[in-house]
């Protein structure tokens, strides 16, 4: 039993060190890897970017700051207007600075927007308010076997409204329970598009409240794969409602008959990749940013690709750091992740760089044998060496700290005792 207790004491220390040390090491040796953001220049008809090599186009030509900004007249509209250099037409199309401002729309979806805890309560705003601006609703709704509205004032169920909305949804063909929901309950937006919901049959529905009455529209769009997230973005352009993210695709939901436009992505992983969509009067640019590659696709106004460009993310400095980390730590317990807002506790990176980890483990084993012989005049047991082979530095610290069962103090006391003897 005492042996089990010792193993448990060692486990506690290994567990905590594996949770804390790799994170501290990563912070202490952090390197900034910032892959440049790609923009498509309708003037040059190629991608341009601003990276560590300055401002360049996708053919490697260096651009001056002014030339770079002139190549992106819609993005740097304000600067060009101030300098009196805003063009009258771009790529043969007449443009104004006001139109440029109105046509710029940016959407971004990252893994942390998808993997996020849900409270289960949503606020449906009045889509056509009496006043000029949107107003906060006085209730919130939840989804279950139907839709239920709860009054915020007295925390009670509004049965009449709940039944009215449930009936409207059922009449539109909605099958409860809902699988996914997306909406933006923010009164600062210019207007309200309500919520988009995916029902139990994976069909997309549009729910709004118009003058207090439910308006549920069956879009007729059905997904083959589970919908991970729905992003709704109310924008003056009113070209699309937002984006629908499935396991392997991102769709733009067009305002024209709820058409689904599949974005040109390659092996999209919603748990790893970030997607950016930037619209301008002449183009849409889709950018897929994975941990290893940045891929940009410029599309015309009909969502047809006109140019593609991709470049690898320079992971050299990060790899060096990872190797060094593997030398010290054979594995890690991740409690923070850049890909989720949930709190993880994940065993990761076991012998990720095997030779580096093996070298580190070997040093730990030799060190332990030497210290053990100095302290106890014998060799450590096989299971202790096995433990070191798996846990490396964590195990070394734990074994030294916890000591032997039949020893009153740990190996750390060796130095103190020697000093005492010498004294």
């Amino acid at each position: 039993m005492v042996t089990f207790a010792r193993i448990s004491a060692i486990s506690v220390i290994v567990f905590v060190l594996a949770m804390v040390l790799p994170g501290l090491f990563a912070k202490a040796t952090s390197v900034r890897i910032q892959a440049p953001i790609l923009y498509y220049s309708p003037v040059l008809e190629r991608f341009v970017m601003q990276g560590k090599n300055g401002m360049v186009d996708d053919q490697g030509n260096t651009l001056t700051r002014h030339r770079y900004m002139r190549s992106l007249p819609f993005l740097y509209r304000a600067n060009l207007v101030k300098w009196g250099q805003f063009p009258k037409e771009v790529a043969g199309v007449p443009v104004t600075s006001g139109e440029a401002l109105r046509q710029m729309q940016f959407l971004r979806i990252s893994p942390r927007d998808i993997n996020v805890p849900s409270f289960g309560l949503h606020m449906l705003l009045e889509s056509e308010p009496e006043g000029a601006t949107l107003e906060m609703a006085t209730d919130m709704f939840r989804l279950g076997a139907g839709i239920e509205f709860l009054r915020c004032g007295d925390n009670t169920l509004d049965r009449e409204k709940s039944e009215r909305f449930t009936k409207a949804m059922l009449k539109a063909g909605f099958t409860f329970p809902a699988r996914s929901i997306g909406g933006t309950p923010d009164v600062r937006k210019p207007f309200d598009w309500g919520y988009f919901l995916v029902d139990a049959t994976n069909t997309l529905f549009h729910l709004r409240m118009v003058r207090g009455k439910p308006l549920c529209i069956n879009t007729g769009r059905r997904f083959d794969q589970p919908v991970r997230s729905i992003l709704v973005s109310e924008h003056e352009r009113k070209e699309f409602y937002g984006m629908v993210i499935t396991e392997s695709d991102v769709y733009v939901l067009s305002c024209d008959g709820y058409k689904l436009i599949r974005l040109p992505l390659s092996h999209y992983d919603p748990d790893r990749d970030m997607i950016m969509l930037l619209t301008s009067p002449l183009n849409r640019v889709v950018q897929q940013r994975t941990p290893v590659v940045v891929r940009g696709t410029a599309l015309d106004n009909q969502w047809q690709p006109v140019r593609e460009y991709s470049f690898g993310v320079d992971r050299g400095p990060k790899e060096q750091r990872e190797k060094l980390s593997c030398l010290l730590f054979p594995f890690k317990l991740e409690t923070v992740s850049p890909y989720t807002r949930f709190k993880p506790l994940v065993f990761a990176g076991f012998y990720a760089w095997p030779w580096w980890t093996a070298a580190g483990v070997l040093v730990c084993i030799c060190l332990y044998i030497v210290l053990y012989r100095l302290r106890f005049r014998s060799t450590p047991s096989v299971w202790e060496l096995g433990l070191l082979a798996v846990t490396g530095l964590y195990g070394l610290v734990a074994l030294l700290a916890v000591g032997r069962v039949n020893s009153s103090a740990c190996i750390f006391t060796l130095v103190v005792r020697r000093r005492a003897r010498m004294g």
Binding site: M1, S8, V12, F119, G120, V405
Partner: protein, 223 residues
């Protein structure tokens, strides 16, 4: 014999038990004041909006009550026992060492759990008075890691007090503090929804090392 041990623990804890409970009531009172204030000043809709959609936490005073209760009970239970190595007298009683020590630990843990239960029921009632069951569920998910932190905090403190050697005390203390910090680190409400069982299991790692510390204490280990 266990009745006698229980009486001993009763004598040690009967008065001090109320202090962590008082701390819980203070924290619950502050949470109630926070909820009531927002409800009254900016309205119930904004209260719901803040909690459900803006991820505001009006009950963060509860974060350290379990850790405080754990430290408090462990100190009042084990410092008198370990001062002057009195705990060794316990090991001469006609009770197995392990049973005696874990009985004491069980009593302390029960007190920590009782305090956490009061806190959990209290916060559930406060949130439930203002918001629906979804909010209560999420708030409890958010508070549970804070309450779970009481387990390693209590067992780690007992380990620190009982271990005869200072390096052991330091390492167990440091490991416990780091894990407790991890459990009480601010995250989004409901962030522990999927990992809570794993964190709960990890808390149990602290149970067995008590036996090692007791064994060393009995044997009279020292520097």
């Amino acid at each position: 014999m266990f009745a006698a041990l229980a009486y001993k623990e009763w004598l040690k804890l009967r008065l001090v038990f109320w202090v962590p409970l008082g701390a819980v009531f203070v924290a619950l009172g502050l949470a109630l004041v926070g909820f009531r204030h927002v409800n009254e000043i900016i309205g119930s809709t904004m209260l719901w909006y803040d909690v459900a959609l803006l991820d505001k936490v009006f009950y963060s005073d509860l974060k350290y009550v379990a850790v405080f209760a754990a430290l408090w009970f462990a100190l009042f239970q084990f410092v008198p026992e370990c001062t002057g190595k009195r705990l060794r007298l316990l090991f001469h009683l006609p009770v197995p060492r392990r049973s005696a020590v874990y009985f004491m630990v069980g009593v302390g843990m029960s007190c920590v759990v009782a305090v956490c239960l009061v806190a959990a029921i209290g916060v559930a009632c406060i949130v439930g008075a203002f918001m629906p069951v979804e909010a209560v569920r999420t708030v409890l998910f958010t508070c549970t890691p804070w309450f779970l932190a009481g387990i390693p905090a209590y067992l780690g403190t007992v380990l620190m007090i009982m271990e005869p050697a200072w390096p052991h005390k330091f390492l167990h203390g440091a490991a416990t503090a780091l894990f407790v910090h991890e459990l009480t680190t601010t995250s989004m409400q409901g962030a522990y929804e999927y990992s809570l069982p794993i964190y709960a299991l990890a808390c149990l790692l602290w149970v067995l090392p008590i036996e090692l510390a007791a064994f060393r204490f009995k044997r009279g280990g020292a520097w």
